[in-house]
């Protein structure tokens, strides 16, 4: 067994283990952290396929940004665990049925001729100067330029829609106006009052 194979089996095993822990562990914060582990080990598997760009972007986007926000929300929500566990036995049969069906479907699809060794030959190892990043960029901006641009546009629309949905002016919320804050003068905030000295009233 070569080193690459050893690395592949190791990272694949870690991925499967982490993915299993995500759904079985009780603590939601730990589940999110196991999801991070699953992402990182999946990225390592991609590295063994010489797809270093995709691997690093997976870590950058999912681990570095998406999961941070995910953890943020999970920690803030303080989810009640016992409530989540309540329906477990009730849903077990139907959930198990769906799982078995999905495994069967995948087995049927993957055992067809389309996925045989003849149709999908083993990818050849690339030469020394091969750069996955350059190759991907070239393909995305030449051959797949229209699908790529359309995907970008859909994302942009989604971003604007998400912001438009959450951005609502509530009358009771106070907003800061940085321009006003910067241009504020002392006279706007403090008023100096001239007055005569107070004298303590004599007791006698």
């Amino acid at each position: 067994m070569s080193f690459i194979q050893l690395a592949f089996y190791f990272f694949a095993a870690v991925t499967v283990f982490a993915a299993a822990m995500v759904i079985t562990i009780r603590n939601p914060v730990k589940a999110a952290l196991f999801l991070v582990l699953a992402f990182v080990s999946a990225a390592c598997v991609w590295l063994t396929l010489e797809a270093e760009f995709l691997a690093i972007v997976l870590v950058l986007v999912y681990v570095g940004a998406v999961m941070v926000l995910f953890l943020f929300v999970v920690m803030m929500l303080d989810i009640n665990l016992s409530r989540l566990r309540e329906g477990f036995g009730e849903y077990l049969p139907i959930g198990g049925l769906v799982a078995v069906l999905m495994v069967l479907e995948m087995a049927i699809v993957l055992s067809t001729d389309d996925f045989s060794e003849q149709r999908l030959p083993r990818p050849e190892a690339h030469t020394e100067g091969y750069s996955n990043t350059k190759e991907l960029g070239r393909l995305l901006y030449t051959f797949y330029v229209y699908p790529f641009e359309i995907a970008a546009l859909i994302l942009l629309v989604a971003i604007i829609a998400a912001i438009a949905l959450t951005l609502r002016k509530r009358p009771e919320t106070k907003y800061q106006n940085p321009a006003k804050q910067v241009s504020v003068r002392r006279d706007d905030r403090v008023r100096l009052v001239k007055m005569g000295a107070e004298r303590k009233r004599d007791e006698s």
């Binding site: 690093i56 681990v63 953890l71 803030m76 990043t133």
Partner: protein
């Protein structure tokens, strides 16, 4: 020595490769950890002088052994784990915090030949690793079971996610100028005097990158994550002894890393500023000298600026830095493709 070499050649290949790699890693890590120790000393001394104090001067001549004494003290202190803290995550957080800070050094070229690993996607690797550092902070805040620590963690998470975007866009500009993700090639593209450094064509991106770097490392004036006056010590308020020291080391290793990266991408890396007899000075000297210069700014900032308010930090990140980087990327692209001045940006 000769005997040792002949002995080594008789070993299998992978043992030799592993041994040489470990030796190289140690060659980077040991000076780095020493630099971390003495950065803390430099910080205390410099801020001392800026505030007309003397700073530490008791341990050793002029206080030179102060960091060693600090390390010894922290090593011998008890690590207290708070009641109801999540034990494993509590102890894992410092490790998660220092691992990316050290691992990122694998792709940093110290001179044209001295680099541990010539990764083609080096810039992406750096970006990915610096974004991982936030996990240590978040997990520490959550696992401590303390509201101060948790508040610090939440602030830090929001801040790092915001500034990472600006940082990434600033690096896109560098990538356009250099035409490569390889840090060695980015540095090589700036050869020939200080006028060829990317500092000039990418000046706005340089500013954005450096300030985002200060924010990303949770340093003053962006240190709301540990703001002493509000949150005691923020996310690491419950940590003591070596666990605290590891957080401390991670912070300083990150500062040095950001300084080194700024040097690499904007200040001409190991190239001498003018093409005279300066080029006879070894490239490593230039690299370390420039890094130390950038590092000085981190300490200077801390002594100079008051802390930003939380909403000001968010505004600066999202509404100022990100638009600046987007506009400048467009400007760089326009100049490279549509005008004869493209060579200014290369």
């Amino acid at each position: 020595m000769d005997l040792l070499l002949t002995m080594m050649q008789s070993w299998p290949d992978w043992v030799q490769v592993a041994l040489i790699s470990v030796a190289k890693i140690l060659l980077i890590l040991i000076p780095l950890l020493l630099a971390v120790a003495y950065t803390t000393y430099a910080e205390r001394k410099l801020i001392g002088y800026m505030q007309v104090r003397i700073g530490p001067n008791r341990v050793g001549p002029r206080g030179w052994l102060q960091p060693i004494a600090d390390a010894l003290k922290l090593l011998t202190k008890e690590i207290i784990i708070p009641t109801n803290a999540n034990r494993y995550l509590f102890l894992m957080a410092p490790v998660l915090s220092i691992t990316p800070a050290l691992a990122a050094w694998a792709v940093i070229p110290f001179s044209d030949t001295a680099v541990l690993s010539q990764v083609d996607a080096g810039l992406l690797y750096i970006l990915a690793l610096t974004s991982l550092g936030v996990y240590g902070v978040i997990i520490a805040g959550w696992a401590s079971n303390s509201k101060y620590a948790f508040l610090g963690a939440m602030r830090s998470a929001a801040q790092i996610v915001a500034y990472e975007i600006a940082m990434g866009f600033a690096l896109v500009g560098v990538l356009m100028a250099a035409g490569s993700l390889n840090l060695g090639e980015i540095a090589a593209g700036q050869a020939g005097g200080f006028l060829h450094w990317y500092l000039w064509p990418l000046f706005p991106l340089f500013l954005v990158y450096f300030i985002s770097g200060v924010a990303e490392t949770n340093r003053a004036p962006f240190d709301v994550a540990e703001g002493e006056s509000e949150l005691v010590a923020g996310f690491h308020v419950e940590y003591s002894g070596m666990a605290f020291a590891v957080f401390f080391m991670a912070e300083y290793a990150n500062i040095i890393l950001i300084s080194a990266l700024t040097t690499l991408m904007f200040l001409g890396a190991w190239h001498a500023p003018v093409q005279t007899s300066f080029t006879l000075v070894p490239p490593l000297f230039w690299f370390l000298g420039k890094t130390a210069f950038v590092l000085f700014f981190f300490l200077w900032f801390r002594a100079t600026f008051p802390r930003y308010r939380y909403d000001q930090i968010m505004r600066l990140g999202w509404k100022v830095f990100i638009p600046i980087t987007l506009v400048w990327i467009a400007v760089v692209g326009f100049f490279i493709f549509f005008t004869p001045f493209g060579h200014w940006f290369h």
